[in-house]
């Protein structure tokens, strides 16, 4: 069966520090991968998506970047965090078009 792992679950980082969130998928190949951010009480904002290794599409210009070094690995990074980067970050994958999306457990990031 397929599983998605996202870590860490919670993170408190000072302003200006770097960020690296990792997401891995097991049990499938060539998934479509997604990173979302959700501010408190708000909807999910799509940050990045990827249809293959090394292919990253950015939805919103911001202080973040994403990489897909391996087929089932998706990394969200920042060189210098801002207060506005705080939020709930979610990784997701799908097997293709019109297929069900599966989400990780999320990372609660607080920038202080």
């Amino acid at each position: 069966s397929q599983t998605i792992h996202q870590w860490p679950a919670t993170l408190v980082q000072p302003v200006g520090s770097p960020l690296s969130l990792e997401c891995t998928v097991e049990g499938t190949s060539n998934p479509n991968l997604y990173w979302y951010r959700q501010a408190a009480g708000r909807g999910l904002q799509l940050l990045f998506y990827s249809v293959g290794i090394g292919q990253i599409s950015s939805e919103v210009p911001q202080n973040l970047s994403a990489s897909r070094p391996q087929d089932r690995q998706f990394i969200l990074s920042s060189k210098k965090l801002l207060l506005s980067d705080s939020g709930f970050y979610l990784c997701a994958w799908t097997g293709g078009r019109n297929t069900e999306a599966f989400f990780g457990q999320g990372t609660r990031l607080t920038v202080v």
Binding site: N32, G43, A92, T94, G96, F103, G106
Partner: protein, 113 residues
Amino acid sequence: LAKTTQPISMDSYEGQEVNITCSHNNIATNDYITWYQQFPSQGPRFIIQGYKTKVTNEVASLFIPADRKSSTLSLPRVSLSDTAVYYCLVGDRLTGGGNKLTFGTGTQLKVEL
């Protein structure tokens, strides 16, 4: 890009049927309609997907009229545990396969005793 419009919030009582309607006037011919449920501090969870007419599974039904410009998620006999945000998604194909999965603001359903 098929944008969706849903009510921001809905209130109901335990045991009642809840219908949440989503408008998607620009839905493309090949687009499916998918609904997700999200609880606080969790990722969304797939509920149901359909293309036309009616789809039913163990938790919900999805009604899609002939013009497909809207859809209605029906939750039979809701309970307190159905209190969540419900999202409607359509289309938004990616080159190379898959959908972009752009979530709207969703509908906050609150179920009371």
